[in-house]
Symmetry: C2
Subunit: 272 residues, 2 copies
Amino acid sequence: MELGKAEEIAEALRTQIIQGELYAGTKIASERDLSKEFGASRMTARRAIQILEGEGLVTRYPVRGTFVANIRERSVINQGRVAAMELRSTGSFLEQMERLGRKPRVQFLEQPGLVAVDVDIARQLQLQPGTLVLKRYRLQFANNTPYRLIESYYPADLFEELLTTDIGSRSLFAWLQERHGLRVVHAQEELIARLATARERQLLRISLNAPVVAFNRTVWTDTNRPVEWAHIIEVASLYRFTYEYDIPDWNQESQLEKEAEREQVTQPVDTE
Amino acid sequence: MELGKAEEIAEALRTQIIQGELYAGTKIASERDLSKEFGASRMTARRAIQILEGEGLVTRYPVRGTFVANIRERSVINQGRVAAMELRSTGSFLEQMERLGRKPRVQFLEQPGLVAVDVDIARQLQLQPGTLVLKRYRLQFANNTPYRLIESYYPADLFEELLTTDIGSRSLFAWLQERHGLRVVHAQEELIARLATARERQLLRISLNAPVVAFNRTVWTDTNRPVEWAHIIEVASLYRFTYEYDIPDWNQESQLEKEAEREQVTQPVDTE
DNA sequence: GAGTGGTCTAGACCACTAT
DNA sequence: TAGTGGTCTAGACCACTCC
């Protein structure tokens, strides 16, 4: 363990939270108690909690204490269909970077190989838990600066032979169509902004206070079969997302800005 | 000034950066030098720099120092058209929250009124700098928790009479169509994830390490005139963006995943 | 050797609230 | 009054790089 004391405390709490021992709404130990328990100074215990806060796992309230956050309670923005977002840019990472005059590079963090899926990913790919899938775990750079961390999974029955076959520079999905006649037609994505975890900070070479944008993506074929599940971490400070869209007829949808905002007019919080 | 010493140091540097006295790439004073200059401890100077880092204004490198970031250099993700994103959810903030069983509330931080636009917003709205615009500055809550901070501007020649007219619960844009025959049809948005500024933290009641999602939005009418420019700040931990989309034909675009990734396979950074 | 950011310590005072 | 998080101090040692 070479992650430092704050990270150690954070990891202990993180494990409890993820495993459900500390469930949503639970009050966790105070900074002073944690510092005693782990033999650290209060500032270090404090940093540990701040790390978890940045990851969205806990919420702190002065006077009241620190509480485990309810991750499922995040509001879901935009349930609609959009034309293309992360996937489009994913596909053109090379081109995008070259267009910007930056040298892209990819580093595999693990040799691509078959692994047994855990429960979560199995559900996303509609497989039985334990089924073999092809896992790719890689880091993309531009001008030797880490940009994105990508962990992706593909059903082994379709993609297994990629371990022994070189498809050259062809697209994985183009290959899928040629080899198996399956065309990739649909994707769903989830986007969350948070601070990076220790591992992500290490790999992306960013510091404690650097936010990341985390994507979860599932890709389907025309036969309605999920063929990719990916978890993508991008360094937030390196990205700006821009997009445009046409607006449906507001006379029908008519809800925009109708928020009964004349309700109150109050002075701003006094700041100076 | 009641913002604390770290914030004071951060503000001094922030001003220099925004005004261009410290331009992109410049190395700023070290933590130790700043602490001397401002009569603070090193930890306080350090926190000041961390604040700026989280906002994306500077980048820190161990050994080398801290440098002013090039904001314009963020990669632009997805230049394409999408169907609806923030605007759709904006429009239904009330409904969305009610659907989730939360009580929405809106607080105006300023009385809506006419102001002279600065250069930036003038450009967005295609107006002469100094032209009058209607400004609305408000904070949206759900269950008394601050969710979003919205600062929006509208050309005064179209919207001025809203100051003396009550449009009830109707949409601003529905009113625009009825009153002026202008239909809102198009929008462009920019999305950035970063840590909150001191003011945003105060208003949104979040702490130092809490990331936000910042949107800039411009809305156009069918006559191709910009009628709204808005700056929206959302508490990142309260949001999850989900969307789906159909994928264009990869045989034609064929760049997806073609990233020549077999280039290298390296061991991950050793972590334990 | 000097200077950088990264981490940590062992205190301190504050505003606030629940008891 | 006791306990919470928020802020601050004045040190310390570390790994690392540049000179």
